[in-house]
Symmetry: D3
């Protein structure tokens, strides 16, 4: 199986489906992470949160913890991701080349502008693909203003630790959000796990999916 | 894989997921059909549409065409299916006994009273099950008043003929609805197939499902 | 402020809004818990889960931990709660008598038949009330088949412990569901708390509410 | 054109589509009002709100003001309308006999039990009909817990006065709700009218409708 | 009646409402087709799909088969349609000039960027119009990520052949999508027709519409 | 309490929550109005509707009638408000500086491009804020294409007159829309008031809110 996870920023993918990706790697699937931005970022007051090289390093370290070696950054500007033919084409080219069986991306009704536009661009680029799943948004980087519908549950009991570790590799983010960030992510995974009777899970809203019988 | 399909009436299951069941049988899965009613039926003017034995025969013949040998009828009254602890328990007992990996049932926002109550009863009975899918409703036995969301697509190109044949085995229904019924079912499967790039498909709205990686 | 919480079974209220009620008591508000059933319960195989007197004792103990002294049980049959004029009138009488400023009840699109009918009966009974909130459903007693929309957040950081203790008082349930039940409830509260920047929160979907300025 | 309006109680139809029916009569269409209950009613404390004969008289007077002479009452019990094959069949028989081009009924997500069940019964009975519209619910007899979607607008500028007069004929209701009831209905019609650029309108959510070209 | 159909690309209008337009022409209504782009298009790899003059010719031929003589192209760039005051004003000017009784446009929750922006621009431009209908999206040019709600059905049994012929006039598209495209469109029309008891239908979600009595 | 109301144009805020703001001022709360545009406007045919100085004057006069002295205009171009990091940052800066307890903004599914983008920008800028409410859209400046859900009701019986007066201060708009505009706004407030049993109310859909106990 080939799995493509698309996130606006370094850390979005780990937050939303890091456990699933690590499990996929463990089970010999091919995984590709696509980060739409990829440069450093500043706070709204121009304080540097992470430099370009820090951003690159954090993304690589985090992916490495999950066991993912195929990571591409598109280098669109942080906070300014477009919903344009450029980004759509970039994603479409990667879809054609990588030929994924599953695509994960942001929730369309998230509130972060970069998440929304990454989601729309992915939906446009993957019109002819049949297994598309949307992340459960999480504060503080994103929230929903339309009810998120948890539908696809992925048991990540065997990889929850890697997921949390991969987030710890995002040092600049961890500094910004504090340890409560990790605790919330872990609590969410426990709650979602309980909903399907396992220890930890990640969940997704489904755009469409094929039944494999 | 063990697949449980629950329908209010003989023919509901074939209409909604007959192709999927036939394919599952072809691929060595175990399939059980559960029909909540199972006796004959009358029109609203008390004209007999099918007798008890005809109903039984039609259900058996149709199942047989799909290759399904495990068929249970609960014998609730046609047009009068309850949403009650009795039906919920009956379904729950079958779920415990058959231990399905997947459960298919009616769309909750269908307009036929028996479909709605079968759906609700199934949802209550399968609260601890993780792969639950809802049928795409179809006129004239049912319609939706809330938008149905096609999400799970099942490629039935290899079994569309069995699906149509199984409906032909419901002679009393075919007489009631005419050949246009079969043509509409076939057209729907073609349309849904096109949406995922195959010849024929059945589709479902997803309550929740587990990612199998 | 007078707060009325309505649940189908002993433990539903504690699960969904126990922290909020304990906080209300701490802050000198009046709280009434209304349990629609109230007798003992059996599993679907007629194994006794709790006897009538155990049920009564557990409800009283749990309420007492939250600091709630006003608890009414309507004694409708477990698994068989009706959506009928009887229950609607019972609730309406309590609303008229207690005159609540806020009413909490089950999510309408829950999957447990008793939860659904308690929700519908409450909505019918409180047509002229202006602050009505719906519980976030939780497995295994209930799940949603329509997306729950978390809208009203209640900071329960100061009462999370009482909430968990009140659930421990439901000994028969704890035995049935194991300690993972408590861990999931605690994890959910932590996740929901993080969404609004506090340690623990309960959340609700809003039917309607008045702005108090 | 033949128009069938179905309401749970005398006054529901006038509230929701009285102006539309009066206009239809003015324009030579055939109109039938079907009231599911039809006997008197009591408050939840058994105080008589209207006797059987008062109820009958009020319904007749109100219909007469709108110009509607074809009124049928099914005499189901007030507050206790079932969603059953009996009511479905009663409605189905009337649909077959009257053969309406359009059917109006309650909003499915109303909060009054009689409204909800009248709506469900109508939807079941009219599965093969193509023009079905749902009333905008109004307090205090009903409210919605799911967003009502105003879609079909009917200009009633020429019949707003008849609509209000028909409600005044429901003397027992007017006494119960006071004159503010009429003012609210008039205000709603003005607001809805403004949305389409006319003086007064009634509006409806659409189940399905045929384009007449 | 004056009918305005707005589509992002040549062929979108025919796909979605070609049968309805042909029928309108047959019944002496005035029809205008507005194509937002109108120049040629390339695949994402810069292979020319159709040249500017081919695009123009195909649109004209297709319209001519439907009997529509009033076709305007706005010449916005394919894949790059904006949601901007420019396009909104262009559409608004045409609305003021043509003064349509009905407006058809794309589904807002389609996945093709041009479809979405055409839909939004039309909704902005037609804020004061009362009969607005949204196309049922179809793969591969578009899909929905929110459930499309089929509400307005148009019987096109008399014009299904013209509809299909008009799509055949889009030779470049037919070459791109193969004959399965036409078969899917025909199957969809048959399925939708069956839902209202006719041979073929097109269907639409309704933004708002006026009742013509 | 500190209340921030954000509108695309002078008059949007008054239309949607003018009564609430006036009441807040009466009750000693702090109120800030933020107008995203703020310059004059032209009709789509370049006829001047209001000049820059008229726009400024109208906004000031209207605010003054409500008792609001803190008004900021961001001077983005009318009809061309962006959903960009610029506007998001502008709003974020004001949120940080004013530190509101509540934020009011446009409905996300409005049809006016400026309203939509103001709503999205506000949602992005207030990701970490917990009391966010969306305006009920109103024709002719805006309409919804998704059902608006009235959830938060604000009793404005004591300030309805100020609300209407504040709209009268928008002389250019009043001239454009005529007195029917004021009558519709007043009718809507009466209708919404009736829904919660008061004379006049404004209502809002809730993104999220904190329970204050």
């Amino acid at each position: 199986m080939r799995i493509l996870a698309i996130g606006a920023h370094g850390d979005d993918i780990e937050l939303a489906c890091g456990g699933t990706l690590a499990k996929a790697i463990n089970n010999q699937h091919e995984v590709k992470m696509l980060v739409v931005t990829g440069k450093g970022s500043k706070s709204h007051k121009d304080v540097i949160i992470r430099t370009d090289s820090e951003a690159r390093k954090e993304v690589e370290d985090a992916a490495s913890i999950l066991g993912v070696t195929d990571v591409t950054s598109l280098n669109y500007d942080d906070t300014n991701v477009p919903y344009s033919i450029d980004l759509i084409s970039d994603i479409e080219n990667i879809i054609i080349e990588f030929n994924p069986d599953m695509i994960f991306t942001h929730f369309v009704f998230d509130t972060h502008q970069d998440h929304i536009r990454t989601a729309h661009s992915t939906l446009s680029a993957s019109r002819r693909r049949n297994n598309i799943y949307l992340y459960e948004p999480i504060n503080p980087s994103g929230q929903g203003y339309v009810a998120f519908r948890p539908q696809l549950y992925s048991d990540i009991s065997s990889t929850i630790e890697k997921k949390i570790s991969s987030l710890q590799a995002h040092k600049s983010q961890l500094k910004k959000y504090s340890n409560k960030w990790l605790e919330a992510v872990e609590a969410r995974a426990k709650y979602r796990g309980y909903e399907i009777g396992v220890d930890y899970a990640e969940c997704f809203e489904i755009v469409r999916t094929e039944l494999d019988l």
